[in-house]
Subunit: 215 residues, 2 copies
């Protein structure tokens, strides 16, 4: 048995703090992964730079039609109800997730990444708090028992900023175009509604033929 096969299978969870469907996935992934004995790799990133690489932005996240806009929140509401997650419609949407993502990277390094991730999503989507504000994020950090000033300083360090930027570049390189996304090896799954499928794949990937036109 080689080293790799003794490691637990891993699912990479790529999430954006502005995204309500990332909130849903963040609220569901730990229970689902634990039930299948999967490790989670937490990958906060920003969608903005990815959307900017497109000539036209085809994302309903940024540019929905009125019908889509109405639909989206009803859809999120129904899914939150089904998942047992609280929801308050954010008075600002989408919120800038930059600061939260930078702090999440620090938290992940220090072993409290999942707790911070949940807290920041909860602030945005269950409490309608402005997660772009250092005071809000600082309060979340403090509530988790960490020194807000120290953490915010680490989050703002050039190395940490660079790391988030590199994450965004890695996302593009690996084919990610939206959030949440899940990677199992290089197999990509997009959307909260693909979480169960991604987890099943991590345990037992399907052996699918290459896709060719007309093939």
């Amino acid at each position: 048995m080689d080293e790799a096969s003794t490691m637990p299978a891993t699912i990479e969870f790529w999430y954006e703090f502005a995204s309500p469907y990332s909130y849903l996935a963040a609220g569901r992934i730990e229970g689902l992964a634990a039930a299948k004995r999967l490790a989670i790799e937490w990958r906060p990133f920003l969608l903005g730079p990815i959307f900017k690489t497109r000539a036209h932005d085809p994302s309903p996240f940024q540019n929905p039609s009125p019908a889509q806009r109405r639909y989206r929140w009803r859809d999120v509401q129904r899914l939150c109800a089904a998942a047992g997650l609280p929801l308050r419609l954010p008075s600002t949407y989408p919120r800038n997730g930059l600061l939260a993502a930078r702090v999440a990277l620090v938290a992940i390094d220090e072993g409290w990444g999942p707790a911070f991730t949940r807290a920041a999503f909860h602030a945005n989507f269950a409490e309608d708090r402005e997660i772009a504000a250092p005071a809000v994020i600082g309060a979340l950090v403090a509530a988790l028992g960490h020194d807000a000033a120290v953490v915010l300083e680490r989050a703002a360090s050039p190395a940490n900023k660079e790391r988030l930027k590199a994450s965004g570049e890695a996302a593009i390189r690996r084919g990610i175009f939206g959030a949440p996304s899940f990677l199992v090896g290089e197999e990509l799954f997009w959307g909260n509604d693909r979480l169960e499928q991604a987890i099943a794949w991590a345990r037992a990937p399907l052996d699918l033929p290459p896709l060719t036109i007309g093939g």
Copy 2:
């Protein structure tokens, strides 16, 4: 007990023959609805006129990024494998679903709508056949035991053309912006991945509060 409550609960299935996710839903809905004793109302329609009402087309169906385009077919492939549906990547995409939708309306009137719908989706996505071609659609109709010339003539009648147009207008009025969509009363669900949720709703709707910003 009033008359309505003795009727079976109904799910409206709005589908577009060009849409691979509509193919998936068409292949799954009958078994799922039957298990819950739900009636299906088959509603073929066209997405093109809906997309044209938008200033910018935010639909990945029409305007995907290269990453989305790569992802989509892999996603469809995985979902078809899970649903036990065959898939051949269409050499033309999206195909024009106008003729198939018109014929589907005739078939629905005459009681063979589901069979024709399955056949036309199968031709497009499992056999890579040009469903915009009268010869292809005519062959499907004939294989189902109907007179192709008669059916194609009915499909091309002014009344039938008008009916499809009216369906598209009804779709917009009722908030539909993509396909497949499901309506349970006026509760809208979008996407093959919401089919199970729509069916559950038809049996037992959630009682959700109105959504207000910050509420």
